[in-house]
């Protein structure tokens, strides 16, 4: 827990009010809490980071290490601790055979928040950064993506208070609380399970094998007698482009109606075999 006194040289290089990240908090939410604690408008902490690093663009989904380092300096935390606010470590572990792995493309990210989490703790869970996240499992509420004025929620709205709508400044804690159905909760749990397995059990080789399996599965579905075979490999095309997002991988898994238990059981068998050999 950071504790800074006037005798510490970083008193003057840290924010006036420092904030400690909560367990499983996302980077964007943490930055907003920094803004709020310091009585700043939304995005001021980010603006300071950009100014201090002489950069122009900040990606809350895949932040540059330099930005994370500067943030750590501002709040008196180590780079490792700040990195835990993102999935960058997990993605780095899965990369290797793929030139560049993303969680999801930035332009497809839709911010969703749980009004009850905002109300209680001004908290945005890290899992909302995952593709297909749409339910808060803590409160079993649907994540809200739009304000009642129909404006899409944005993390950092210039000149607006943190955790408020960019247009009407309505506090996000006043967003409607819509109870998720049992099916929606189960679907969310399934998606979370897939990502947790990818992050905890995934390796570059396993990911590559999974992609090959999905490629073959797609080709077999698309090949019909008397019809032209599919032109180019879908996933191979992505890898040639140099970027792959886990959003697409998981979408393919769902579309292929693959049994996740079988896929991950295979991985577990791998692990047991390796352990036996060792």
């Amino acid at each position: 827990m950071p504790w800074i006194t006037l005798t510490d040289e970083n008193w003057y290089t840290t924010l006036p009010v420092i904030v400690e990240p909560d367990e499983d908090e996302c980077l964007g939410g943490f930055l907003l809490r920094c803004d709020r604690a310091n009585c700043w408008y939304a995005g001021e902490t980010v603006a300071h980071i950009l100014q201090a690093t002489s950069t122009k663009y900040f990606n809350p989904l895949a932040p540059a290490p330099l930005h994370l380092w500067e943030l750590g300096r501002l709040v008196g935390l180590s780079l490792e601790r700040v990195q835990q606010l993102t999935y960058q470590n997990e993605l780095d572990r899965l990369e290797g055979l793929i030139p560049r792995l993303l969680l999801q493309p930035s332009n497809s990210f839709l911010l969703g928040v749980c009004p009850e989490c905002i109300y209680q703790l001004h908290f945005i869970e890290k899992a909302v950064m995952l593709p297909f996240a749409f339910v808060c499992l803590e409160h079993e509420l649907l994540l809200q993506h739009k304000c009642s004025c129909t404006t899409s929620l944005k993390l950092f709205s210039r000149g607006k208070p943190p955790f408020c709508c960019a247009t009407c400044e309505q506090d996000w804690q006043k967003l409607p609380r819509v109870k998720a159905s049992r099916e929606e909760v189960q679907a969310e749990e399934t998606f979370r399970y897939i990502f947790s397995m990818l992050f905890s059990q995934g390796t570059p080789k396993r990911l590559a094998r999974l992609l090959s399996f999905l490629e073959e599965h797609r080709r077999s579905k698309e090949t019909h007698p008397g019809k032209k075979p599919p032109s180019a490999h879908y996933i191979s095309r992505l890898m040639v482009r140099g970027t792959l997002s886990l959003e697409e991988v998981v979408r393919e898994l769902v579309v292929a109606r693959v049994s996740f238990e079988e896929v991950f059981a295979d991985w577990k068998n791998d692990q047991d075999q390796i352990a036996m050999i060792e």
Partner: protein, 310 residues
């Protein structure tokens, strides 16, 4: 002196610690009063008395801290130095903002309201401004606005204020100004403490010099094993209350003069390999400070010893 002995001897270490002298007790007593009672004072003392060191020590002991969980910063004492040659209120605002940490770029209209919020949030109870003789009218007007906003709803927070200044004679900075008929000064005057609005904190008497010499003696025993300084209290006091050093004829000694005299003498004794200071050494240093203080020294040739820097 034997050059091999000189080479083996470590460099001289001057005394730099803070000492809670009689002056500091008087001075910090006023600061404590301002913090406790949220009262306003103009506090003056001779240059070299130890005001800045006293403020620094007071600040360090105020238990200011930043903690992450829960996110809370406590800054009971906000101490800054008055901006020099910069009369605009924005400059004072920046100096106050810098005391909290990283200063975010923002317009002045935003910063002035931000300052009120952050001071209330961090529980600032007393503002101390060192070198207050350098404040401008605009600075004082801003201070009044800042403290008024803190005292008003929703914060309702009274804040003490200490304007600490160097003075000469019996004139206390700002006293004549606050006696003026303008509304701003009348409002300022009204806020000053009833019992001690203007204070001059006096330096050390002969008896108060003695325990300081005892502290210095203890420190320098590591370097001059037989050093005895207390026996020189009377002559030291006499030298340092000379009219050249004690311009206002207060009959008191400032810490700066005392430390300067002792450090210069002890350093000289150390470099000569002595185990104690002598009357001649002290007299020589006193003469430098009194009779030869305006002397211009011609620097020529090459130094005897070259010290590595960095």
């Amino acid at each position: 002196m034997d050059s091999s002995l000189e080479q083996a001897r470590p460099p001289f270490v001057p005394f730099k610690d803070f000492v809670e002298t009689a002056f500091e007790k008087r001075f910090q007593g006023l600061l404590h009063t301002a913090r406790r009672n949220r009262s306003w004072h103009v506090i003056a003392a001779a240059p070299g008395s130890g005001k800045s060191l006293g403020i620094h020590d007071f600040l360090l002991r105020s238990y200011s801290h930043k903690q992450g969980d829960p996110a809370r910063t406590s800054l009971p004492v906000l101490a800054i130095r008055a901006p020099k040659n910069a009369g605009r209120e924005q400059v004072l605002g920046m100096a106050l903002a810098s005391a909290f940490g990283v200063v975010r770029q923002m317009s002045w209209s935003v910063r002035r309201s931000w300052l009120v919020r952050i001071m209330a949030q961090t529980e600032v109870g007393c503002i101390i401004i060192d070198d207050a003789q350098d404040l401008s009218v605009a600075h004082l007007a801003f201070l009044k606005e800042l403290t008024d906003n803190l005292a008003a709803p929703p914060y309702e927070r009274q804040v003490g204020l200490c304007l600490v200044a160097a003075h000469s004679g019996t004139v206390v900075p700002w006293q004549a100004t606050f006696a003026g008929p303008e509304i701003l000064w009348r409002q300022f005057r009204r806020r000053l403490d009833t019992e001690k609005p203007y204070c001059i904190v006096l330096g050390h008497t002969e008896e108060e010099v003695r325990p300081i010499l005892a502290t210095l003696e203890q420190f320098y025993r590591r370097q001059l094993p037989d050093v005895q300084l207390q026996r020189w209290t009377k002559p030291i006091f006499t030298w340092l209350t000379n009219s050249v050093l004690d311009l206002d004829a207060t009959g008191r000694v400032t810490m700066d003069h005392l430390i300067r005299l002792v450090t210069t003498t002890v350093r000289k004794a150390y470099e000569e390999g002595a185990r104690d200071v002598t009357s001649a050494m002290l007299t020589e240093t006193a003469e430098l400070m009194i009779l030869r203080r305006e002397e211009i020294i011609a620097i020529d040739g090459l130094p005897q010893h070259t010290e590595e820097v960095g």
